[in-house]
Amino acid sequence: MLKLEKRPQPSQLWIYLTPLIAVLATMAAGSVLFAFLGKDPVVAIRTIFWDPLFSEFAFYYRPQLLVKGAPLVLIAIGLSLGFRAGIWNIGAEGQYIIGALTGAGVGLAFYPLDAWFVFPLMVIAGALGGWAWAMIPALLKVRFGTNEILVSLMLVYVAEQLLASMSLGLMKNPEGRGFPGSRNLQHYESAHNAELITGTGMHWGVVAAFIAVITAYVLLNRHILGYHIRLTGQAPRAARFAGVVPARLVLFCLGTAGALAGLAGMFEVAGPAGQVSIDFNVGYGFTAIIVAFLGRLHPVGILLAGALLALTYIGGEIAQSQLGLPAAAIQLFQGMLLFFLLAIDVMTNYRLAWQRREVA
């Protein structure tokens, strides 16, 4: 009968093949889902994956790829460091919100001062805000051994309440005629995270995402710290004998992830979103988990995976307006992707082998 047999070495071929097969399998399962919802599956898949890039109106959608992809990549790079070392920060959504709040807070505090240093200060504040929010689970884990998964996740709900409180109270636009939400930072020259080249979608967040990818690549491949992260993930005991201090690694991984998520939030609130509002966060922090795994926790992989997931967001919006496909269908689609990836990943470490039944 068919049995799983452990490979002596993880298969290099399957490491690269798994994400591709997972994407194809998700497309297949997605087609079934779309057909079930009464939509033509071929049209739906084409609308999601082809139209944003190559259709008549692609000039409008292509910049969105950078706008939506940047926060995903930025957050996922941070998460991947921790995931590699077995440190599970799943509260990036909260760190993203807090980064946006602190970043926007600094910007709003300077309003209407016109000075070159406002935006850089906002960037620093955003990163610090996300970092501080991530330090809560990190310090609790280091000091008390508290589970960082649950604490970081609980803090997402706390951050959401804080966001609601801020957009209804402290940060509410005094000239907003009572509507919730802050001043629009897009109308405040010094704080606006504007497009660097008009019509490309390229803003400072995209630049930061590319820098993060390169830095993470160098860190993981050329730096002792990156080596320690990989070592801790693959052989925690050996890592301890080699002199790796787990506590320091926890602080570094969670802190970096928090700072990057905070940056993502700050660039979003100062640019594409424009203002602090109750429904500011759209789940990038959770989708980034899918991006990190789909990218195999590798910086370059994450870049590609981020682009793909951004595509599903954009294509999903097109499908929503043109085909009436519910937004939840896209959410489900993204969830399926992670499912298939994890399922097919078994082939990396195991192979199928025929084994005759024998007497034990």
Binding site: F144, T146, I149, M154, V158
Partner: protein, 306 residues
């Protein structure tokens, strides 16, 4: 501010109602974790159960059928997790997360068109004599049957783990799966059963929220209760009797918080709404001093090489 409007009978009675979804989900997850599997998908299974139960109850007019569908829905979703972790040997943390993401999307999709509908009411159980007792009757004996089912399941799990052979086997699998395998127990099968039980319980807990506690359907309505249930298992040191205590404690916090909101305390609503999550963190910090109680094989994948 008007504290006089808070009646102690109603407060304690609604405490039991608020605690029930937590109790159900946490008891289910406790069984899963005692079998050595960490399923982080409780939130996803709860919300799926919530919509399965809601849709079935609305379409059939029977809340009991709704509850059954919720348990079935939760168990079906947990089967996906079982496939991933037991056959594909995937990382349990990642699989649980994907289950939650998947469940949130699935429930949102299934819930299209169910917003703003009122589900059929659940029959209140009227126990003769007991329900008419002053104070005690109002607090303890005038609830819907699900409150008692939750208590019953928790007690049954306590008795099973403590006194029965099945409980012993489940604990053996959770403490040391290699030893259990060597003794001839089918580790994978036992774990799949535990995972599905956990899924069914989480589904019931979710449907309790959508059918009885709220009762209506809104996207993402479980709002982290599944995650609090996970924290509750840690709080309870993997013991059913302490899950009960924990669930009532958290039920109490929720109810007091809601009552304070209604009474118009000077604290803004958002900060009151944060409190259950902050208290969960606080409890986790206090409880994590003693980690010795966690099942030995918790979260480790099992692959029988021979």
């Amino acid at each position: 501010m008007d504290f006089g409007s808070i009646s102690p009978v109603l407060l304690l009675a609604s405490l039991m109602v608020a605690a029930t979804p937590l109790l159900l989900a946490a008891t289910g997850e406790l069984v899963v974790e005692r079998s050595g599997v960490l399923n982080l998908g409780v939130e996803g299974m709860m919300i799926t159960g919530a919509i399965c139960g809601f849709a079935t109850a609305v379409n059939t007019g029977s809340p009991l059928l709704g509850m059954a569908a919720a348990a079935g829905g939760g168990a079906a979703l947990s089967l996906l997790f079982a496939l991933l972790t037991q056959f594909a040997l995937a990382n349990q943390v990642a699989s649980g997360l994907s289950l939650t993401l998947f469940g949130l999307g699935l429930s949102a999709l299934m819930g299209q068109g169910y917003q703003g509908i009122k589900p059929p009411p659940f029959p209140e159980l009227h126990i003769p004599i007991l329900s008419d007792l002053p104070f005690v009757g109002g607090v303890l004996f005038s609830h819907d049957p699900m409150v008692y089912l939750g208590l019953l399941i928790c007690a049954a799990i306590w008795a099973m783990l403590k006194y029965s052979r099945a409980g012993l086997i489940l604990r053996a699998v959770g403490e040391n799966h290699d030893a259990a395998h060597a003794l001839g127990y089918n580790v994978v099968l036992i774990r799949i059963c535990a995972i599905m039980f956990g899924g069914a319980c989480a589904g019931l807990g979710g449907a309790y929220i959508s059918l009885i506690r709220v009762p209506q359907w809104t996207e993402g309505m479980t709002a982290g209760i599944g995650w609090i249930a996970l924290a509750l298992v840690v709080f309870a040191s993997w013991k059913p009797e302490r899950v009960l205590l924990g669930a009532y404690l958290f039920g109490g916090v929720t109810v007091i918080q809601l009552n304070l909101q209604a009474a118009g305390v000077a604290i803004p609503v958002e900060y009151l709404a944060m409190s259950p999550y902050l208290i969960t963190i606080l409890v986790l910090v206090i409880m994590s001093a003693d980690r010795s109680r966690a099942p030995g094989s918790l979260g480790r994948p099992f692959h029988a090489s021979s």
